[in-house]
């Protein structure tokens, strides 16, 4: 953990100590957000740029709030109507922002590897806020944080089941990677056309095409958003057919651990991948997940920026 931590692109190569340190700092940041003055001067003088080439409300807003709550300046760059090819326009944008002395980039892009590209062009800190179907590490961190806060159960004694379109989900990928790194057992469940075989290669990760065995004994169950474009590509027949087999409902959680909690990365299709009553019920951590977004991202910015040589 001694080398300088300057990029959060995914969890490959990140050791457990660093993950736990970020979660510990998140605790302190959550405390700051409960005070009358929800702001500390820790990142005063730093500039954080959000580069969003894909629509997002909660992620971008929570990053901006996380930066401002530590007194950093924020520059928000949203996708414009440029006709340049994506690679070139991204590179030019980074060159421009580098000249404006940006200290950290928060990058969301539809192309997998976009944040890695940005990281190769700049010396500033870089956070991947979602790249294609590859990774969305801060979402996974906030899921893990929300779960730990709500249950207190050690990750080593936890089974996480992720249900839905795993193949196209950067959230599923990052969560699977993070939770198994923390010692949890991870079960990925969905129709065979939406399950990526490569993820099963991770130690402690198992694939299931049927919901019942996937939910058996689970402590945390995450429903993924069913993206409507999947139906156009013929990977599933219809929303109704999907819901019939894979919708998370209170009744279907009968085989899960009695205290099992339910997560959803949002935005959710009520009564498609998750029963509305379950999403609003006592098992649901959905509101906690949203609330955890700001302190987790504050902690990540703190760990990336504080220390000599960050400017």
């Amino acid at each position: 953990m001694s080398e300088r931590f300057r990029r959060l692109l995914d969890f490959s190569g990140m050791d457990v100590d660093r993950i736990l340190a970020i979660l510990a700092t998140t605790d302190v940041m959550a405390q700051v957000l409960q005070r009358p003055v929800k702001r500390v001067p820790a990142l005063q003088g730093f500039t954080v740029a959000t580069l969003f080439f894909e629509d997002s409300t909660r992620t971008r807003l929570s990053f901006e709030r996380a930066a401002r709550a530590q007194s950093a300046d924020v520059m928000a760059f949203a996708r414009g109507g440029t006709s340049l090819s994506k690679g070139e326009s991204l590179r030019d944008t980074v060159a421009t922002l580098d000249a404006l002395q940006v200290d950290a980039y928060v990058v969301r892009h539809p192309a997998a590897g976009a944040a890695h590209q940005v990281a190769s062009w700049t010396d500033a800190a870089v956070i991947n806020a979602g790249d294609g179907r590859r990774a969305h590490p801060t979402q996974a961190l906030l899921d893990a944080y929300a779960y730990r806060e709500a249950t207190g159960r050690p990750f080593e004694e936890t089974r996480l089941t992720i249900v839905g379109d795993v193949a196209h989900s950067r959230v599923a990928r990052s969560d699977a990677e993070l939770w198994q790194r923390l010692g949890a057992e991870v079960v990925l469940c969905g129709p065979p056309t939406l399950l990526p075989p490569d993820l099963a290669a991770l130690p402690g990760v198992r694939l299931e095409t049927r919901l019942e065995p996937a939910l058996d004994g689970a402590h945390a169950v995450m429903a993924l958003r069913l993206q409507h474009e999947r139906m156009d590509t013929g990977r599933i027949h219809s929303t109704a057919a999907y819901a019939e087999r894979y919708q998370l409902t209170e009744a279907r959680l009968a085989g899960a651990h009695p205290d099992a909690v339910v997560l959803h990365p949002g935005p959710m299709n009520r009564d498609v991948e998750i029963e509305g009553a379950l999403a609003d019920g006592p098992r649901s951590l959905i509101t906690r997940q949203v609330a955890a977004g700001v302190p987790v991202r504050m902690a990540v910015l703190y760990h990336l920026l504080v220390g000599k040589g960050s400017r």
Binding site: Q31, V40, V306, G307
Partner: protein, 183 residues
């Protein structure tokens, strides 16, 4: 670090804290509306001990809080090692309270500056006072302590090391020199 002198032994440290506790009560005319806030790490047991002593001669024990000032430091872009942020635990409302900020050593005054900013972000205390076990001089900011266990003139290359039972297993304050081989 090489030890050059013992500044306070365990009994002297104990007496210094007892005197400070009396001074705090005297100057605040009792322990009503009083609270102690210790700065992580060694300010915390100092605040606890002062509260215990105040409780022994007043009818009440003032509440004690723990303050971590990391997020308020002014050197976060300069330090090589990233500081671990710890939790601040102040369970009472600071507004209207007379707070005594407690720490082991007063040196440049930068910790106190950070602590003052952190405290006023929690509310509006009626007053903030400052108690330290050792004042070693070399102020870089206009800060002074209201209660001092011992004033010690030092050189900048010297180190004042406070050891407390709760953390270090023994009580005492020593003056040392950084990096010198033992003689």
């Amino acid at each position: 670090m090489t030890v050059k002198a013992i500044l306070l032994d365990a009994r002297e440290l104990d007496r210094a804290l007892t005197r400070i506790a009396h001074e705090i009560v005297e100057s605040n005319k009792g322990a009503e509306n009083l609270a102690l806030v210790g700065v992580h790490t060694r300010g915390v047991p100092i605040a606890e001990r002062l509260a215990d002593r105040i409780a022994s001669f007043e009818s009440l024990r003032p509440p004690v809080g723990k303050l971590d000032i990391t997020l308020y430091r002014d050197d976060l872009t300069e330090i090589a090692l990233q500081p671990v942020v710890k939790k601040t635990e102040v369970a009472f409302d600071v507004s209207g309270m007379r707070l005594v900020l407690c720490d082991d050593v007063l040196y440049t005054g930068r910790t106190a500056r950070a602590a003052l900013d952190a405290l006023v972000d929690m509310g509006r205390p009626a007053a903030i006072q400052y108690a330290v076990l050792v004042d070693r001089g070399h102020r870089e900011l206009p800060i002074r302590a209201d209660y001092v266990g011992k004033n010690v003139p030092t050189r900048r290359d010297e180190v004042v090391k406070v050891r407390l039972e709760e953390i270090d297993g023994e009580d005492g304050v020593v003056l040392g020199v950084r990096g010198e081989a033992p003689t």
